[in-house]
Symmetry: D2
Subunit: 135 residues, 4 copies
């Protein structure tokens, strides 16, 4: 399986009046790790934009297991867990200092042909090949 | 069941380079509807802050059924679907012009006692009473 | 002069740990009012995108005169104060309940020709005409 | 003078439909550099929160000199340029790959006594001392 991880320092602007990270800010953390994952197989935002396809997120699920300690950085690991018909990425966020799991999440993306705006039921060959080479 | 709805105009800053609403912006839309729901039973952010308890979101799930048309406003309906042990709010986003369903979502919140920082397995009486009065 | 105003309810996600609106969230409020201003002269985001030009913001200045009271809505008034060579929009944010001024701001936008990616030193005729008709 | 710099990779969620960084996202970049600056003198968010004072931003000015190239990281340098009566921080954003200046900005913060909620016309001794030690 292909994985990538990023380390992110929590910022003041991530916090809400309860002095925890506002739950709606986590999609930014997940996207940073997912971008690192696709960069790793040389299929980042640029390659996606040039491919003629788009991969909109059709499902997002986040389980907030334990609040993030804003004083410590977080480590976000993204793993590609499905890729043939849709892209499923699973995420674990841990406290970078203690290793404790704070969050589990996944996103599902489908392929859309940008010319016809139609849903593709199989991941395009160009991307599948890059994934297989990296496995 | 208690429901509230808000109408939101999509803004330029909500859009991503694919000219759709960036998926990570939806938690803001959901929170606007959830805030309207809790205002309706007179248990808004202020009352929550003064109650001695907090209700962190522990789960978020969003299914992006159909892209939002940025030219039309959206209607977000929030419904309280569980409240005794935890608060579950279910959401439907529709295109305000066509009525088509764009998004389904839910959030789950638990009660935390702010003095002890401990999880409560029952929703505090003060909130339950306000909910029952509104049902 | 052409003006437009919008009323915005402050949301929980707008607040920072100091329980005031995080200063970096104000550009969203300004943009909502500016969008209303350009919609008023029928030159909104869609017309801009189709015109062959873009109007990037090249300067932003915000003076936070008084903190926004999160319990009250705000009224944001945008006024087009220059348009011949560049677009200057001036903003006043007031507390919708008390009328007190909370914030003064302005943005400056220049015209860029999207085909050549070059700066235009005069606002294109199509936009100037719509502005003059509305004055 | 005290300076700090951070390197930030531009993310997909930073971009707007014109495929440039949305101008309203820059305050996040500035805050990351300002946080690094105050961490450097051991007067970060935690020390601020415990000091009995708050430092709200009362002015923000950003000049967008040149669009950020989303493919390259940016380097944000924050320099404390005034501190006796108010905190003025000046910022330069450069393209980390080419060194070209993309943005110039400043923020001004005043000191507020959190007990009385009153404006202080001098920066509190505890902070001045830390600044002088670092000069």
């Amino acid at each position: 399986m292909i994985s990538a991880e990023v380390t992110i320092a929590i910022q003041f602007y991530d916090l809400d009046p309860m002095r925890i990270v506002w739950h709606g800010n986590y999609p930014r953390f997940l996207e940073q790790a997912r971008a690192a994952l696709f960069d790793k197989i040389s299929f980042g935002y640029r390659e996606m934009a040039q491919s003629g396809f788009a991969w909109p997120v059709v499902e997002l699920r986040i389980k907030y297991v334990r609040p993030i300690n804003p004083g410590n950085a977080i480590k976000v690991t993204a793993t590609l867990t499905e890729y043939e018909n849709r892209l499923k990425t699973s995420y674990i966020i841990t406290d970078a200092a203690t290793g404790e799991v704070c969050t589990k999440a996944h996103t599902i993306q489908v392929t859309v042909d940008r010319a016809s705006n139609e849903l593709c039921f199989e991941t395009p060959e160009a991307l599948v090949e890059k994934i297989r080479r990296a496995l």
